[in-house]
Amino acid sequence: MRLSTRPLLNYENVNNFSYGNQWIIRAGDPNTLYFQVFDLDKGPANVIGQFVPANQFGANSSLSGSMGLRYMVGIGSGNQPASMTVTFPSIDDTQVINVTAVQDPNDKSIWSVTLGQNQKPASGNVQFAVQEGSSIRRFSSLNLLAVEDPQNDGSC
């Protein structure tokens, strides 16, 4: 099992959202970031270079890494208690932001984290730690977050 996430944009409820490539936020704004957990090793068969007859142009199936199958965290008694920590990394320990994610009660694959005005993460990868029972699965999502600086981006 290789877990990953996909950011959800314009999230209203479990039936009303869109998938995105990354979160784009402004530092200092109050932000709630939604995401869905996927298992990259499951989902539709996806063999690299495989010919897909259904496609009249003979396109290969997506090679970008399967979207996977959504993963409901904490299902089954052996997977309880379940929790998730989201880390926005930094080279400076004092700048690392660790946030506990909140699971959606209606879809256990959907989680969210809320950033306060003083929590200003940096652009780039975001790290996740999913705890289910006694096991912890860690993964990093590539360039998941873009943070604009609305105050002064005239130098860096």
Binding site: N21, Q22, I24, N55, F57, G58, A59, N60, S62, L63, S64, G65, S90, I91, D92, D93, T94, Q95, V96, P121, A122, S123, G124, L142, N143, L145, A146, V147, E148, D149, Q151, N152, D153, G154, S155, C156
Partner: protein
């Protein structure tokens, strides 16, 4: 993670070099390039599709950007994001006489955390007090040690300065060259603000990514010309074949070279003279 409790900085921006304050009227730094920006800035009007129907997904464009960022780090000889380094520079008598002129491997330097004489069994023999470190040339990766503070009325220095260490400094007066002598812990990168990069660096990343993407698409455009004839009526067409996008690739290559040259000129010194 690094220990930043004792840090020496110059206090200005990495880009524009030595900017002490900026108005905010002009944006010069931005988050890492996004797939949408890559298409909008570099691949507008170019169908990102192959003849068999394959296409680039947003995830694949993100992957190409990630590859390009790593290539740009190699091109510029530094890391894009602020990272922590530790290396040992040799003792060179002529450089020692020039106020311990030490050039770091990664540059520009954002901060120096530790500069000391460290033995090969990792014992710190003498730590240079941070107050002696001259930070004005950090943008070029140059660290100098100027212990002249007492001349300006500063009588005490902070740090691990001991009599044994100062005595050690006098011993090396007779030596010309000692390999792996000064140990330096420092951070280097192209931005003091994590997650923001200078716009020209993003432009270079996009240029490298666009070249790679166009180079993948173009060779599969295999036919130069096609003709069809039936009952004395014929029609033919010709095109660039696998040299499709060649002009665009060449222009991007030129831009890549130019941006690389200019960025390296900002953050490094071209000539360096030492004992060896």
């Amino acid at each position: 993670m690094s220990n930043f409790t004792q840090t020496k900085k110059y206090g200005t921006a990495i880009y524009p070099v030595h900017a002490s304050a900026t108005s905010g009227l002009l944006r010069r730094c931005e988050p890492f390039l996004t797939p949408e920006q890559l298409v909008s800035r570099f691949l507008k009007g170019i169908p990102l599709r192959f003849r068999n129907g394959d296409s680039f997904s947003a995830d694949e464009l993100k992957d190409r950007i990630y590859l390009a960022m790593n290539e740009v780090e190699l091109l510029l000889g530094t890391t894009i994001t602020r990272e922590s380094f530790q290396f040992k520079a040799p003792f060179d008598y002529s450089l020692y006489r020039a106020y311990i002129h030490v050039m770091t491997e990664a540059r520009p330097i954002i901060s120096v955390e530790h500069l000391a004489i460290v033995s090969s069994d990792a014992n710190t023999i003498f730590e240079i007090p941070p107050t002696w470190l001259e930070a004005a040339n950090f943008s070029k990766g140059l660290i100098n040690v100027i212990p002249l503070l007492a001349a300006y009325g500063v009588n005490s220095v902070q740090g691990a300065v001991g009599n044994a260490g100062i005595a050690f400094l006098t011993v090396i007066n007779g030596l010309n060259w000692v390999p792996a002598y000064w140990q330096i812990n420092y951070t280097a990168g192209l931005s003091t603000k994590e997650g923001l990069v200078p716009t020209p660096v993003n432009e270079l990343i996009g240029t490298v990514a666009a070249i790679a993407i166009l180079s993948e698409i173009a060779p599969l455009n295999v036919w130069n010309s096609q003709s069809q004839t039936q009952d004395g009526i014929s029609q033919s067409s010709s095109g660039p074949g696998n040299r499709l996008y060649q002009l665009r690739i060449e222009e991007l290559e030129k831009k890549k070279d130019e941006l690389t040259r200019k960025l390296k000129a900002i953050f490094s010194t071209r000539y360096f003279v030492g004992n060896i």
